[in-house]
Amino acid sequence: MLKDILFAGFGGQGIQFCSKVVANAALLENKELSWLPSYGPEMRGGTSNCAVCIDDEPIASPLVSSPRYLMVLNAPSYDKFINLVQPGGTVIYDSSLINADTERSDIDVFGIPATRMANDNDLKGGANIIALGYMIKKTDILSLDIIKTSIEKMSKGRQQLIANNFRALQLGYEYSE
């Protein structure tokens, strides 16, 4: 079944990296997939988003207009996308930056103070991976192990980077409200 995921936040929050980790993990699992970024002025500080589709069948449309999964790291993106999530879908949001108040009862909405956790744990810029860890825990998108392998491959042997990202991933995975 198609798993379509939207990652959204400010440029600089690591939306692209985070979504690429997931895309590469799907590749490692021999899945069909597409990764589609928003492009243009967004990359210079505005909102940024990436759509990832994962399936066993070839991906037809790579555009995600109503995602099954949404990871959102800033308030403008939350407001923009929360009502587009599919009924039955799952939302992971950064509760240290977003006051989530949705009337929707047909979706699961999980907050994690990813930015605060990153700061508290000396993982500056790691909120994206913390949120990803939580997303992996709360959904069936991919396994934690394959995400780790993907991070390792993408970090091309930079051990400190790998260690930090693993720590961030674990923090998110083990978080409980």
């Binding site: 895309a23 590469n24 590749l27 990764w35 589609l36 243009g40 991906i59 037809a60 449309s61 555009l63």
Partner: protein, 352 residues
């Protein structure tokens, strides 16, 4: 089969290198800049040339120079830049030179926007420059097809001695998908006895030229060129037919529009609607043969063209079905890609 995750723009570059192209001349423009960046990183390492030209005009003329020498050369741009290249494209066609031009389309006219578009369809297929000429136009719908079509485009360009174009769009250029280079066949350079590469005092001098002041001579070159185009039209049409056997409604779409259409068709099929897709993979030649049976098939009620423009390919579809079927337009423009729901709703409306 090993697959890697690549952006469309980067996959084009890698495919071109596989296809034996070591000379790239470009000018920065969104949304195809990753291709230039990729080539600037790769080509110097394999003894090739990456040159950032002073303009699109210069870039296409550098391609003409390199192509005159008999080697594989390419340039890439996006819509406004392609307009600037049309002069050079006309000369290259008039000189019967092979080369590859990439158009990662964005919205127009004018400076337009930077989001994906298919509004250069007419330019690519009807008037890519002044005079009687055509480009062989390939329309990929995935990153994998970008790879295979780059190679096919170079081969076609050389076989027919004409410029070829890969007509993509900003979305395909920016998108990453798994891609394999396993099936790309190794390039073996063909003999090019016409090349202006120095005669070494062993043959008469070669002249690469498009000027014929005697009308009869110019007419003869045009007739000869169009004989080659006719051969290409006969043998070079390519398309994918998807769920068309029992279809009462036929969608026609290329590139990213075809991906959206496929999703909409899957949804509509779940509701029992008999709808299929013709996806042109070549735009010149337009795959007229795809409509040979459709146009006289009594069960086909209508054809719907999904385009990211104000309706350009629709005219070729009307010609292909000889106006025997109604042809409707489903379109968005300005850089907007129609959503699956929009296309699905139109299918359901048509099926009422």
């Amino acid at each position: 089969m090993s697959k890697v995750l690549m952006k469309g723009n980067e996959a084009i570059g890698e495919a071109a290198i596989y296809a034996g192209c070591k000379h790239f001349f470009g000018y920065p423009i969104t949304p195809q800049t990753e291709l230039s960046a990729y080539m600037s990183k790769k080509l110097p390492k394999i003894g090739g040339t990456f040159l950032q030209a002073e303009s699109e005009v210069a870039a296409i003329n550098m391609v003409m120079g390199a192509a005159s020498a008999g080697i594989r050369a390419m340039t890439s741009s996006s819509s406004p830049g392609i307009s600037l290249k049309t002069e050079g494209i006309s000369y290259i066609a008039g000189c019967d030179l092979p080369c590859l031009i990439i158009n990662v389309q964005r919205g127009g006219p004018g400076l337009g926007g930077i989001q994906p578009s298919q509004s250069d369809y007419n330019q690519a297929t009807k008037a890519p420059g002044h005079g009687d000429l055509h480009l062989a136009v390939f329309a990929p719908a995935s990153v994998q097809e970008m790879v295979s079509f780059v190679c096919d485009a170079f081969d076609t360009a050389e076989k027919y001695r004409m410029p070829a174009m890969l007509l993509a769009d900003g979305l395909l250029g920016q998108m990453m998908e798994p891609v394999s280079f396993d099936d790309v066949k190794a390039y073996t350079p063909a003999e090019k006895p016409w090349a202006a590469n120095g005669h070494k005092n062993r043959r008469p001098h070669n002249i690469i030229n498009s000027l014929y002041l005697k009308p009869e001579e110019l007419e003869r070159t045009n007739f000869e060129r169009f004989e080659r185009y006719a051969d290409l039209c006969k043998n070079g049409q390519r398309y994918e037919a998807y769920m068309t056997e029992d279809a009462e409604h036929i969608i026609v779409a290329f590139g990213i529009a075809s991906r959206v259409a496929k999703s909409a068709i899957s949804e509509a099929r779940k509701q029992g609607v008999k709808v299929g897709l013709i996806r042109p993979q070549t735009l010149y030649p337009f795959p007229v043969s795809a409509f040979d049976t459709i146009k006289d098939d009594p069960k086909v009620k209508r054809i719907m063209s999904v385009e990211l423009n104000m309706g350009q390919m629709i005219n070729d579809i009307k010609l292909a079905v000889e106006c025997k079927k109604p042809v409707e337009l489903i379109n968005r423009t300005g850089g907007i890609v129609p959503s699956v729901k929009e296309v699905y709703d139109r299918i359901m409306e048509a099926n009422k």
